[in-house]
């Protein structure tokens, strides 16, 4: 079994379990998954056919697996898919278990091996019809005989990632919309989930609301009477006699009926915004109106129509007509694609090659064929090479239709917020539109082609039933040449496209030096599995933390990559600098704060002088202030000081910068053998400068450290100062 097949199997098994699981109650659109418990087992698919199928692996076999893995493995049981479950000796993270699994594969003993990861109850909305009727949204159930499977959109796993984003607008180009309790009770006030739409039906008869174009996209009903249908030359000649379809309301409900509200049905993307664009009325709508609606929905200008304040990223066209794609429609599709809009269209219900229909046969759209609950093509669905993807459309001949919002009025609306099941490629299409909205909710930067690629890459393979009873005219196996890449699978697609990491951050650093390059620790963001956009502000980042790899340019980070950031610290004290790293829309920051201002200088001292003449002015030696990072206050007692030791001396308080020189002076005692001391204080550090006058008789010229006799005490003071000066010599220049 190939890895991808095994993965689908595991996903399917998990999804099955989720059907009975209780609902998770998130508070926002994106659900934060709780940390996984430790992995205790591996799922191993032995390469040897006999080992793969054994119910019990013997000791020699297990010894070989243990040796290859590098730790003791114990056989637990055989499992489906020709795989074996083996117990690890200790619990470990999934990433660590994967390393041992990789060893088994690398050894050649296993064709595939993976951690036996814990599966969590997945989100299932509490809407009553979800469980009872909306098979088309429910988890996959595959591998059973025809009639036992469920090829739904597999949404519960996807809803663990997101249930949509109001910023993503899905335009429903259809018959209009009715206020519905399960969508929006007032579709005209623009305050709810439904944005202000427009009625593009220009023909008054077709519009059926008494006028042509207007700003009210409410569906007035599209019933056609027998008299209208048979009236020769009439507008509706040849049209099918029918009650009002409320088609747009049904389609809108599939895209985004409010989920988990305990009411009715759930939509695919129940937090997305909806934009009703009425392009069809009685018996359909004209290409010219549809084309105008397409452009307006995406935010492009339409003559005579106010600008659309809420351009849609997804356009749902559950409509079509015979004839190959015309230039008018193709040009409109090209125009809106250039705006970044994803155009999702119905393949059509004629059971024919889709190439002969518009807009299904146009280029640049996602054309959706319809499948039934068993994963086969619905009997009515168009098919062919122009189909990109299939989705549940229902097939009453096989099992059931698609349940969604409606109205019970046969002509005029009853406004009773009812529900009903329809079938058709019209119903399949909004499944894919809703899925596109979920993808864009996770990554708004996806292009239309990227959305299509993601949907196709994660699609469920079509089943191939052998029983000819299920491969006749009424039911046929799909193939990729008929029905696109597969059946849309929301859980797998969103898991593949999960480029939103868990919350992350960097440890702050304090007391960093001024104006220096500060680098964070390396982190490995987790919780995402698709390459994510990475960008930085206020600094640089490096993938792998290579010193030479720092950049400020946006890039892409993959799962498991380490990253660190750096910036230049502030040039002033106690100032914070922050670098913000954004990965997949999640921001983490790194902050450094510079050290506090230091105004306490290194110790300093003035050597004393002696034998000075009484009454003379004595100046100290010069010191240079060091060890401060900001201006320090100066004060002096009994003397004066000079910054720079020039001629300007003062006794007033002042300030000194690191590196500046200082000296002090005072007038020596007028008596012989007497001392005078000045005390200079810089930033709280004090030092004395002492002068001692010469003795009364036999005096000699003044010398540093001299003195004695009757002035011995003063001299000793001076000697003590000299000793201190020598000990603190680093501060003296």
């Amino acid at each position: 079994m190939r890895k991808s097949v095994l993965r689908v199997l595991v996903v399917s098994m998990a999804a099955c379990g989720a059907a009975q699981a209780s609902a998770i109650k998130p508070t926002a659109g994106v659900v934060m998954l709780s940390p996984e418990p430790k992995v205790t087992r591996l799922i191993v698919q032995p390469k040897r056919f006999d080992l793969a199928r054994m119910q019990r692996l013997d000791e020699p076999s297990m010894a070989a697996f243990s040796q290859a893995a590098g730790l003791t493995l114990e056989h637990v049981r055989a499992m489906s898919g020709q795989a074996q479950v083996m117990r690890l000796p200790v619990g470990m993270s999934a990433a660590e278990a994967q390393l041992y699994a990789d060893r088994l594969v690398a050894s050649g003993l296993a064709g595939h091996a993976q951690p036996d990861r814990w599966m969590h109850p997945q989100r299932a909305p509490n809407d009553p019809f979800y469980a009872s009727s909306q098979w088309h949204l429910q988890p996959l159930l595959t591998g059973l005989a025809h009639g036992g499977n469920n090829y739904g959109l597999n949404l519960p796993g996807a809803w663990d990632y997101t249930t949509g984003d109001a910023a993503v607008v899905v335009a429903v180009l259809d018959t209009g919309l009715l206020p519905h309790a399960d969508i929006d009770g007032n579709i005209l006030d623009a305050s709810g989930r439904v944005k202000s739409g427009y009625d593009f039906v220009s023909d008054v008869e077709v519009a059926n609301d008494g006028g042509g174009r207007d700003s009210d996209p409410t569906d007035p009903g599209d019933w056609v009477t027998l008299a209208e249908s048979i009236k020769s030359g009439g507008t509706f000649e040849g049209c099918s006699v029918s009650d009002s379809s409320w088609h747009g309301t049904h389609v809108a409900g599939i895209v985004g009926a409010t989920g988990d509200n305990g009411l009715g049905v759930a939509g695919v993307a129940w937090n997305t915004s909806l934009l009703p664009v009425r392009t069809m009325g009685k018996c359909g709508g004209l290409t010219s109106d549809v084309v105008d609606g397409i452009r307006w929905a995406a935010g492009l200008a339409v003559v005579g129509v106010p600008a659309n304040a809420n351009p849609a990223r997804v356009l749902n066209l559950s409509l079509g007509g015979s004839g190959a794609c015309d230039a008018v429609t193709q040009q409109a599709i090209n125009d809106v694609r250039a705006q970044g809009a994803v155009v999702v269209v119905a393949a059509g219900n004629e059971g024919s090659d889709v190439a002969g229909f518009t807009p299904a046969g146009c280029a640049g759209v996602i054309t959706v064929a319809a499948t039934d609950r068993q994963g086969q093509i619905a009997y009515y669905s168009n098919y062919g090479g122009a189909v990109e993807i299939s989705a549940p459309g229902g097939d009453a001949y096989i099992d059931s239709k698609i349940y969604s919002t409606l109205d019970s009025g046969t002509r005029l609306a009853a406004n009773d917020s009812s529900y009903k099941a329809y079938q058709g490629t019209s119903a399949a299409t909004p499944h894919v539109s809703g899925l596109a909205a979920l993808l864009l909710a996770m990554n708004a930067g996806l292009t239309p082609d990227q959305v299509l690629n993601a949907i196709q890459a994660g699609a469920t393979p079509f089943p191939a039933y052998d029983d000819t009873a299920y491969t006749g005219a009424a039911a046929a196996n799909c193939t990729t040449s008929l029905c696109g890449a597969g059946i849309a699978n929301a859980a797998v697609i969103l898991a593949q496209g999960d480029s939103v990491p868990d919350a992350f951050g960097f440890a702050s650093r304090n007391d960093v030096a001024l104006a220096t390059l500060v680098t964070s620790e390396a982190i490995t963001p987790g919780g995402f599995n698709a390459p994510a956009t990475i960008r930085v502000s206020g600094g640089e980042y490096s993938l792998g933390c290579a010193v030479g790899g720092f950049t400020s340019l946006a890039g892409t980070i993959g799962k498991g990559q380490t990253v660190c950031v750096r910036h230049l610290s502030a040039s002033s004290e106690q100032t914070a600098t922050t670098t913000t790293l954004t990965i997949g829309g999640v921001q983490g920051s790194f902050t450094s704060t510079t050290t506090a201002a230091d105004t306490t200088p290194d110790a300093f001292a003035f050597p004393p002088v002696s034998n000075v003449s009484p009454g003379s002015v004595v100046t100290s030696s010069t010191i240079t202030v060091s060890g401060i990072t900001a201006a320090a206050p100066i004060g002096i007692v009994n003397g004066e000081y000079s910054l720079g030791c020039g001629s300007a001396f003062t006794s007033s308080p002042g300030q000194v910068q690191n590196g500046q020189s200082l000296c002090v002076r005072h007038t020596a005692s007028s008596a012989y053998g007497a001392s005078v001391t000045s005390t200079l204080t810089v930033g709280g550090v004090s030092a004395g400068f002492t002068s001692t006058t010469q003795a009364a008789s036999g005096a000699t010229s003044p010398t540093n450290g001299g003195g004695g006799g009757a002035f011995g005490l003063v001299a000793l003071t001076g000697l003590a100062g000299l000793a201190l000066w020598r000990r603190r010599g680093r501060a003296i220049r």
Binding site: D203, T235, C283, L286, T287, V303, S318, A327, V328, S426
Partner: protein, 121 residues
């Protein structure tokens, strides 16, 4: 060659060869083509290479009608600098198809497509 000269040239050519269409009473604005599928209306979506605004197209519509042998009525401008027109008289399917082909053949016409009816699926 300037555009008026081209149109005059086409007018002269087509006036000689184009068969006259059978006129009938003016139809409702959205009447379908008689004798055809209900999916084809009598409307035509037209876009010129260089005539983009409504006034320009209206000014040349009579000349255009003469060139294709059929009076044309301007209905409304569309997005994408296209315009919706229709013949002044009901046409049968074959005549309508011929009208489209003649419009497409006129120099300066980027496309002329039937305004087909689309239905919900």
């Amino acid at each position: 060659m300037s555009r008026p000269v081209i149109l005059l040239f086409v007018l002269l050519c087509t006036a000689c060869s184009a068969p006259s269409f059978e006129p009938s009473p003016v139809p409702p604005s959205e009447r379908q083509v008689s004798g055809t599928s209900m999916d084809v209306s009598l409307r035509i979506i037209l876009r010129f290479v260089d005539l983009r605004d409504e006034a320009s197209v209206r000014a040349h519509l009579a000349e255009l009608g003469q060139s294709v042998g059929q009076d044309l009525v301007y209905l409304r401008p569309m997005s994408g600098q296209a315009h919706v027109i229709q013949p002044a008289h009901t046409l049968d399917a074959m005549s309508f198809e011929r009208l489209l082909e003649r419009l497409k053949a006129i120099p300066g016409v980027e496309y002329a497509e039937p305004d087909r009816r689309l239905r919900h699926q």
